[in-house]
Amino acid sequence: MAKVMSLEDAISKFVQDGSTVLIGGTYMTDEPVAAAHEIIRQGKKDLTLVLGEAACMVGDLLIGAGCVKKIVSSLLGFMRLKPIAPRYRRAIERCDLEVWEAEQNHVHAALRAAAQGVPFMPTLSGVGCDYHKVNPDIKVLQDPFGDRTVNIVKAIEPDVTIVHTATSDDWGNAQHGGSLHYDILSCRAAKKVIVMTEQVVSYDHIRKNPDKTHVIGYNVAAVVEMPFGAYPSEGQACYRYDLDHYREYLRMAETDAGFEEYLDKYVRGKAHNDFLQLAAGTNKLLELQTGVH
């Protein structure tokens, strides 16, 4: 039952071709970027990629690299840097990507249903909208206790959820360094969880602040220690995001050729430490940590 393992082993064991994979974190924060790179390196295919919130870098990378068959997300963009993620946009406009078209609350509802073990979940969002016309997992239902309608959404239970945390014990009791994103729900909804953490700490260390233990080890299958694993996104309480690298990515990802060049330069055949060295280097990494702790 040893859960602590390498990223390579964790991805190889728990992400299969065709898996439904939920990636945690959110815009440029706690994005499990190292895990996305590893999924690309292992050439996983036909994934249903679920984004609790818009983990933009990992989402766009996985789509661009051809790992994703279907995307479940209400949004994919890089905030002010670029409201629409380039590979995502291109893939949809080329009809290369199946889209589970939804409002954010449809995604919540699908995950809440899975977390609660029920087959569907009602929500007010989407009533009067067009989502149910293009997404068979969203239906209009009349309230059986009244006459108004709601949207109901079919449960989505990820085979595996991958989150990035500041700390974790070796059993997968893990703590974020600030905001929770949708990571609690994302872990509760999943069959299995991979915790990618900046630092594996002792059980007693975690137990000092039980209020902060938002990922509970019961369904954690793998704990991967990976310093700067969220780079270039922010690793909360550990380091800031690196806007320069996001900008470089967005420049390169504008074109097919540029995106391939990006993968060759930073991902394919590169260990995570190579990526850190190439993209940031020691001085930059230290600078990103300054004043955060």
Partner: protein
């Protein structure tokens, strides 16, 4: 824009217009993407007249910020980060508060908006083969469950203000009513670079509320793809006051984020 006395940008005018509509002690929220205008509006309101407002910000730090003066930074998140959150909770709870009717106001954006204030951020053209793909529906349908939905649109043209949106990603009051929706709130207030619009209760259609300084009613109509309701008297949008601009530039947005295209890393 030069009105003779004070120079200001369209973004600053939009910020001031929204800020005046945010009451003290109200609870509202701002979405996570490109939200410099709403955030500045909230910051300005908090400084000018609403020190007790509560603004929920989105990703990456999600937190209730109360009784705090807000300072605009590069990303939404940094509001909370710089000042320190009083609570950290599961992000989906904010949407619950919208659906429950707790939120007095919420901001929303749009790629397209039509005569019934239905909005679209999903796609232009047929969904199955879109001409332009939008970022996706986000939480904007939920935003319409706030008592007021503040919609800011960065372009006033016939390709944005359309007869009927290509995909209803957020349903205005009429579409919710026709679908027999459970709760109808979400009175829209739309601010574009040219004008302010709201909903005419009788027809449920958008009507002109005021035109910005230097803009004529005809200019608005010429750039609107549907029959905007025009009242007999259309006042001018009140321009930013010197005090508002001063607070905005020195306290709320000292880094000048509103006039930058990109965040200041």
């Amino acid at each position: 824009m030069d009105t003779g006395t004070v120079n200001y940008t369209i973004a600053e005018l939009m910020v001031c217009t929204f800020a005046r509509e945010i009451p003290d002690y109200s609870v509202g929220g701002v979405p996570g993407v490109r939200s410099e205008v709403p955030l500045a509006a909230v910051g300005l309101a908090a400084t000018m007249h609403a020190p007790n407002l509560v603004c929920l910000t989105m990703a990456p730090i999600f937190a209730a910020i109360t009784k705090e003066q807000l300072v605009l930074t590069g990303f939404t998140s940094e509001y909370a980060r710089e000042k320190g959150a009083v609570a950290i909770f599961e992000q989906e709870y904010m949407y619950d508060w919208l659906h429950k009717g707790v939120m007095q106001w919420f901001f929303g954006g749009a790629m397209q908006i039509d005569q019934y204030a239905d909005t679209n951020v999903v796609c232009i053209g047929d969904w199955h083969k879109p001409k332009v793909r939008g970022p996706g529906g986000a939480g904007l349908s939920a935003a319409y469950y706030a008592h007021r939905c503040f919609i800011w649109v960065n372009e006033h043209s016939k390709r944005v203000f359309v007869e009927k949106v290509d995909f209803i990603s957020a349903a205005g009051p009429r579409s919710k009513r026709l679908a027999n929706g459970y709760v109808v709130r979400g009175e829209p207030m739309v601010v574009s670079p040219l004008a302010v619009m709201d909903i005419d209760p009788a027809t449920e259609r958008l009507r002109l509320k005021s035109v910005h300084p230097g803009v004529s009613t005809d200019e608005v109509l010429d750039n609107t793809g549907f029959d905007l309701i025009v009242p007999d008297h259309v006042p001018q949008t009140q321009p930013p006051t010197e005090q508002e601009l001063n607070i905005l530039r020195t306290e709320v947005d000292p880094k000048g984020i509103l006039i930058h295209e990109e965040p200041l890393g």
